[in-house]
């Protein structure tokens, strides 16, 4: 299959719809000026697909970094790094969800919708995400519908933002920074854990846990809503920026990214505040083993720093003639359809029927690393074609439920 040809064909036929791009109309302030957002999101979607295919089919792949302060060990550095690379996904996904939400809200208001309509639209989207998480995401991971995963978390955050968006951006930015820097001090012990509702509430709010089935979850709202808040602040900053203004953001993003990674090194070196998993030695794994559940400061500095570098790269290449072709074209198609990609890729890579019993996550047989990489790459090609097909479908039927996915 000639990938470049297919990507070219797709653009020549004018099928390019967009999430970030679509939300700003594309031409108001310079065509395609915000495609770097879709490009960045596309990169992390592809990485996320790796994490999940490996989780579904590899014996030595696991997660759970930071649950209850624990650091489940990996069999070797290779398997650690194969998991570690996926840490970029959730923070970037949630951050950019906030960015695109800000841009789309502004566009809706400018398009004549009332505040109430915009609020209802965002809240409805949040509820739909919660339903999709229960019906599609949870069974894909062999979890009960009560599992509070990344899609549930984004859904809950959208519902919060349907109201919180009325706050001034600077207040949202301040609150987000305060939460990110201070959530590790949060003490929810006043909520009783004996009744299931209390246990579940603590999981949903701040304490990821897998111990009391079916009340399980990995993505608590409190830290992640702050990540979305940072993304929202960026979205409001970007709206109204010209193509030239956006070009000028390449350097600030790069500087911010490097500064964030330097701050990560400092936080890990000090080995106190900001580390929910302590550095227990000086190996590469010791330095990079951070808490994702919940995300500690070190985790967010590393991942959001990396995201800033990806955004800078996206701005750097988004004007190039080849940007819409080849690999970047494929990544753009992923980034334009994040939720569709997410829901489809889980079942594509899982490749087996749902099961609902605890511990049934194990595959019928394990794949080796080369076969898994091959499966991942082949799956990405299938997903790319499906994303193109889905965009076409959305253009044909612009008003039904498809607009929420």
């Amino acid at each position: 299959m000639n990938i470049s040809y297919l990507v070219h064909e797709y653009h020549v036929k004018g099928m390019a719809s967009a999430s970030a791009q679509e939300t700003v109309g594309g031409t108001a302030h310079g065509a395609h000026r915000l495609e770097f957002i879709d490009f960045t999101r596309g990169i992390v979607m592809a990485i996320m697909a790796w994490d999940h295919v490996s989780g579904f089919w590899n014996q030595y792949h696991h997660g759970g970094e930071g649950i209850l302060g624990r650091a489940p060990p990996f069999v070797d550095t290779t398997w650690f790094l194969l998991r570690f690379v996926s840490h970029y996904c959730a923070p970037t996904f949630i951050f950019l969800a906030g960015t695109v939400l800000a841009l789309s809200s502004k566009k809706r208001l400018e398009g004549g919708e009332s505040q109430r309509e915009v609020t209802l639209h965002i809240a409805k989207r949040g509820v739909i995400l919660l339903v999709l998480a229960a019906a599609i995401e949870s069974p894909a991971f062999s979890n009960p519908w009560t599992y509070f995963g990344v899609i549930s978390c984004i859904g809950a955050c959208l519902i919060i933002f349907s109201v919180a968006r009325r706050l001034p951006t600077k207040v949202i930015l301040l609150a987000s920074l305060l939460i990110i820097l201070n959530h590790s001090f949060l003490d929810l012990s006043f909520i009783p854990t004996a009744p299931n509702w209390g246990w579940y509430l603590r999981i949903i709010l701040h304490e990821p846990n897998y111990d009391r089935w079916p009340y399980i979850g990995l993505y608590p709202i409190i830290p992640w809503v702050a990540v979305m808040g940072l993304g929202w602040s960026l979205g409001n900053y970007l709206s109204g920026k010209s193509a030239e203004d956006v070009k000028g953001l390449k350097r600030p993003f790069a500087v911010l990214g490097v500064a964030s990674i330097v701050a990560f090194v400092v936080v890990r070196w000090l080995n106190g505040y900001g580390n929910l998993v302590s550095r227990m030695g000086n190996t590469l794994v010791d330095w990079l083993y951070v808490s994702k559940y919940p995300p500690d400061l070190a985790f967010l500095l590393w991942t959001l720093g990396g995201m800033c570098l990806m955004l800078a790269l996206g701005i750097h290449i988004q004007g190039r003639p080849w940007f819409h072709g080849g690999l970047s074209g494929i990544l753009l198609s992923f980034g334009r359809n994040p939720l569709f990609f997410y829901l489809v890729h889980l079942w594509l890579y899982r490749a087996r029927f749902p099961d609902f019993a605890p511990g049934a996550y194990r595959p019928p047989f394990y794949l080796g690393l080369p076969e898994t990489l091959l499966f991942w790459a082949a799956g990405l090609l299938v997903l790319w074609r499906l994303c193109l097909w889905y965009e076409k479908l959305k253009r044909q039927y612009p008003k039904p439920i498809l607009q929420y996915i």
Binding site: L68, G69, R70, A71, P72, P73, V75, K170, L173, L174, L177, L178, L181, N182, S184, F185, G272, Y273, N275, L276, V277, S278, M280, G281, N282, T283, D286, S291, D296
Partner: protein, 193 residues
């Protein structure tokens, strides 16, 4: 010029100030908290922290319930890379420290194949002057490295703190030893011995 700059960026400056003030206050207020990833044990006139993924059990070494003058606690985690962190104590002074470590290793030898026991070295670990000894435990043909440190407390007790973990190196053991010993606090006996 500086005034103009500040005026232009007043809101940003306010945000930064609030963030620094609130975060700084929180860090200061929680400076003595049990670190993330650890739990604290308190009882029998001593307290220390141990890894949160370990389940603490009493009387693993001496088979008698711990008291102020004699006892042991051992935290164990499960899985392929299971870890053990333990604290054993007895009445005694610094002169009997090496013998006490011999006793602890001797008890462990009853149930494990312990090899490569190194000579004692005097070190300051976790702010305490301790004797440290390395050893290896044979687990299914694999030699798991461990460390044991002996320390004499001011009220007349000797402590042996030991750590080992499958698949881990000396770094992990040294790190945990430092954490446990740094956090180890003792109290005077409730009544004279």
């Amino acid at each position: 010029m500086a005034t103009t700059f500040l005026r232009r960026h007043r809101d940003t400056a306010v945000i930064l100030l609030v963030v620094v003030a609130v975060t700084g206050f929180n860090i200061w207020q929680h400076r003595n908290d049990t670190p993330a990833g650890y739990r604290q044990f308190s009882g029998n006139g001593l307290s220390f922290i141990y890894p949160a993924d370990c389940t603490l059990r009493e009387a693993v070494v001496f088979f008698r319930f711990p008291s102020y003058w004699l006892g042991d606690l051992q935290g164990e985690s499960s899985g392929e890379q299971a870890a053990i962190v333990g604290v054993v104590w007895s009445a005694g002074g610094p002169e009997g420290l090496s013998d006490f470590m011999d006793t602890v290793i001797g008890e462990a030898r009853k149930y494990n194949e312990i090899t490569e026991v190194s000579a004692d070295t005097a070190q300051v670990i976790g702010g305490k002057e301790a004797l440290v000894r390395g050893f290896k435990v044979d687990v299914g043909g694999v030699r798991v490295p461990g460390l044991v440190a002996g320390w004499a407390s001011p009220e007349g007790r000797t402590f042996a703190v030991y750590c080992l973990r499958q698949g881990a190196g000396d770094d992990w053991c040294a790190f945990q030893l430092d954490k446990v010993l740094r956090s180890l606090r003792t109290e005077p006996p409730p009544q004279p011995r």
